[in-house]
Symmetry: C2
Subunit: 533 residues, 2 copies
């Protein structure tokens, strides 16, 4: 059934008129492709009064921008925002009283509380004059005050408002490197750390470095987090898909990697890198150590840069699995700097901390020659540095309170409370989804998402086609209109052609889960009753 077609992410505004019949072959088909044909005829302001043609129209902007897609903030979310406004303006106008944003991994937007110690340190670093005031002792824990002093000592002049070194403050990179060493049991070098405004910026930097033209390809899992397809499109490269095996719990098979790599090469694509997302987004699997070893070996043999998206490293919910970094795995195989080029991405947005709005993160770059590293540094320097609050938070995340610190018990309670609740929510939602007619859902072993497959009846598929919509987007739109629950169609992440999925976060607070389950179950039953073949 699978057709392993290597193709570039298709244009949002592709003007060819046949594209609404193509979805059966295209793992990336987005619902917005159906909509955009109408949007694109919007007239351009000013064209009548200006003596020249208008300065910019969609026909004259960079076509790579047009090609780029980012479904997790796409059309369904725009509709949700409109409904939310409706509810505010006309309470009771919809069959629900709130919008539940399950489209994006944004825990604090759904009520998750930040870790107290982290925020204490950030506040103290923002307004340092209070550090030696007596009232401060009553408001902040002693280890937060000590940590703030320690961080200020690492910043030249204690100036948290100054641009830092373009890789980030050296002392914070020391702390992060020590955290990586403690995690992996192998050395980490602070000079390999580049602090970034979230992980996305690091991914863009690597794509910018590696992609020269559409003849350069990046191997990405399908389904994938659409940052990858978006960034590859923006940089004009080719996404080379490798399919995760849904029947094997979204397993990553080396034979599939090899096949896709060879197919791409046969088509004249220079495959430059292999992206691995572990734990998986949107798929939630946690890769086994043995599997990671195979991935390292494959990358080394094939001369691929290994791009390791490890932002969910703290989000593992099943006792039989644990997180292993690709750096640890490669070092444990005896491979060093000379053997493999590896970039590991980490973020303050995920884990138990969920500090999305702080835009902190780092990439650890190993196995690159000094002259290439110099180029990476140069690109980092063009944006001067990442935000210092995010830098500080990245250091805290990699070096939380320790046994004996005043905050330790509170920190552990907060962390464990969040992680165990996430595990319970994942299980409840997974069970609920699996109980629905025609729906199968793999376990969320990690990360923050479920990615159920929905066996849509032919009647629903036909109705979607008639509505000029992708079938999964049609389902998601109906779900939103009926329940206020916002999920993202599988086509935004890529899926085996002819299969339909959606991504749903496990992030709503636990007391909301029963209502979500019952709304979802009711909706699905009605949908099937309407469209069952």
């Amino acid at each position: 059934m699978r057709r392993f077609v290597i193709r570039r992410v298709r244009s949002l505004l592709d003007r060819s008129n046949q594209h609404h019949h193509h979805y059966k072959n295209n793992p990336f088909l987005l619902s917005s492709q159906y909509q955009s044909r109408f949007l694109s005829s919007t007239s351009v302001l000013g064209s009548s009064s200006s003596p020249m043609a208008p300065a910019v129209t969609v026909d004259t902007i960079n076509p790579k921008v047009l090609k780029c897609e980012y479904a997790v903030r796409g059309e369904i979310v725009t509709l949700a925002q409109r409904l939310q406004q409706d509810l505010k303006d006309n309470p009771g106008s919809h069959p629900f009283d709130e919008i539940l944003y399950c489209n994006i991994g944004n825990p604090q937007s759904l009520g998750q509380q930040p870790i107290t110690f982290f925020r204490e340190v950030l506040a103290l670093c923002d307004h340092t004059p209070i550090l030696d005031k007596s009232e401060t002792q009553g408001l902040f824990s002693t280890d937060a005050i000590a940590r703030a002093w320690q961080i200020l000592d690492q910043i030249p002049g204690g100036a948290t408002g100054a641009y830092s070194h373009s890789q980030g403050i050296k002392g914070l990179r020391d702390t992060i490197a020590a955290g990586i060493e403690a995690r992996d049991g192998f050395p980490a070098d602070p000079n390999d750390i580049f602090l970034t405004d979230g992980a996305s910026v690091g991914v863009h930097m690597m794509m910018q470095l590696l992609i020269r033209s559409e003849k350069d390809g990046i191997l990405c899992p399908i389904p994938q987090y659409p940052l990858y397809s978006a960034s590859i499109a923006l940089h004009g490269g080719t996404l080379v898909p490798y399919y995760l095996d849904e029947a094997a719990g979204w397993g990553l098979e080396i034979s599939e990697l090899k096949k896709q790599l060879e197919d791409a090469r046969a088509k004249g694509i220079t495959v430059r890198a292999l992206c691995v997302i572990n734990p998986g987004n949107p798929t939630g699997q946690v890769l086994a150590e043995e599997n990671l070893r195979e991935i390292v070996e494959f990358s080394k043999q094939e001369g691929l840069v290994l791009l390791a998206d490890e932002v969910y490293q703290e989000n593992v919910y099943v006792p039989e699995k644990s997180f292993h970094s690709l750096k640890k795995v490669s070092r444990s195989m005896g491979y060093g700097e000379e053997d493999i080029s590896l970039v590991s991405f980490q973020s303050v947005s995920k884990g138990y901390y969920g500090e999305c709005g702080k835009r902190g993160g780092y990439m650890e770059i190993t196995g690159f020659s000094p002259d290439v590293r110099e180029q990476i540094y140069k690109v980092a320097s063009v944006n001067l540095c990442s935000n210092i609050t995010g830098q500080i938070l990245a250091s805290l995340v990699m070096s939380p309170p320790k046994v004996g610190d005043e905050s330790y018990d509170c920190y552990c309670a907060e962390r464990d409370g969040i992680l165990s609740s996430l595990a319970r929510r994942a299980k409840t939602l997974e069970d609920a989804l699996n109980s629905l007619e025609g729906v199968t859902c793999n376990k969320a072993e990690g990360a923050m998402y479920l990615f159920p497959r929905v066996q849509l009846p032919q009647k629903a598929i036909k109705a979607a086609e008639a509505a000029n919509s992708a079938p999964d987007a049609f389902y998601c739109r109906h779900l939103l209109n009926a329940t206020g629950i916002v999920v993202v169609p599988g086509s935004g992440f890529g899926q085996v052609p002819g299969t339909w999925h959606f991504r749903c976060t496990i992030l709503p607070q636990e007391d909301k889960i029963p209502a979500i389950v019952s709304r979802l179950t009711d909706f699905h039953k009605k949908f099937m009753d309407e469209y069952r073949d």
Copy 2:
């Protein structure tokens, strides 16, 4: 004497062997071009042990990355960092005891203190549980507490750790729009505001939108802030230079704009936008309202997007000049949305606040069609949102304390103290530079820099050539080695071929200025004694 050559920013690692004789025609020549020929032969790690070619070498990375240059964090700064380490390891090893970083507009790194009110609000928004504790009253001003509550009310769930709307938190954009209205006396729409991690990100977004290939050109002042040349290079476009008239206080002449535009068009370049930096960086001029009107008229007539870098809008030091935004000027001419496409960039890094490390800023986008705006929004959404701390700070900068607020007097004293001190420092340094043999320096009417011209003797130019260095970089390197003062060679900003300049910030604290003046004067005298023809 001027040769108005339109050329792309030249490659750092251009392998052609003749490039060190080209500098006389090239406004962008960087000293690192001389160095890089040696760097580029660095051997690549792993090439011996790997079964395949190494995954990445400088020969196989994106050539646009190679072409990109960013002098303000370039070779001279790297040398300075080495000297600083030397001083730490071996005190007394150099004829100075500290490095003075005058290479970049980074006020707090040189001791400028943040505005208390701004930092109080940031701290309170970071750690909200203290907002209603009694000790907090003793540590924070009442208006900072009130403002923090107000901001939290604008953030859904008060979640400062959540991703926001991709344009930024709506309530903060309302505040910023109100600030723009108060500044300009014309309406501003919060939906036109895109909050960004510093102004640089906004500039990159616009370049990404506008540049399709090297046939697309962007008119930029020469000298220019090298973010523009770097961003244009990274996006593969062509920088179309227009020269500011040094003899007329770095004036911007429309005839020059017209000439360069026509030359570029004759060469098949589609000129898409005109960048204006006002107050000027690195040149410090403040453009007169009449001049700005001509610029608006020119952009409108020629169908150019007007990119207004207005990040120094609060930095004006002379009573005879004041800042006028290009939006205000265009609206005062009766031009609205239909007439001109205008993007204004603002940042929290400059002004009297100088909060570089917070990476806050915004762009206000007017005169774009809805479908183009949708594309800009999509690109913004791929990075989810800018950091919330920076967003909050951007709102504070556009809405500082008002008469009657508890913080008002303190805020005014801090602001006025910084601005008047900057004005004094600018004048002292300008006078000192003008007293040097062969040096002429225009007034810094605004911004944070002086950009003196140095008439280098032929003997120095020959010595630089023999040292494989650009003459201005040769001068700056000697200055650094002799005094510890870090400035940036004019070639990093572009200059009329055959003229030599450097950029020096006015940011060292006032008590250091006399020593800087005397070190600079001594050095220059010795340099001239050694190289005078």
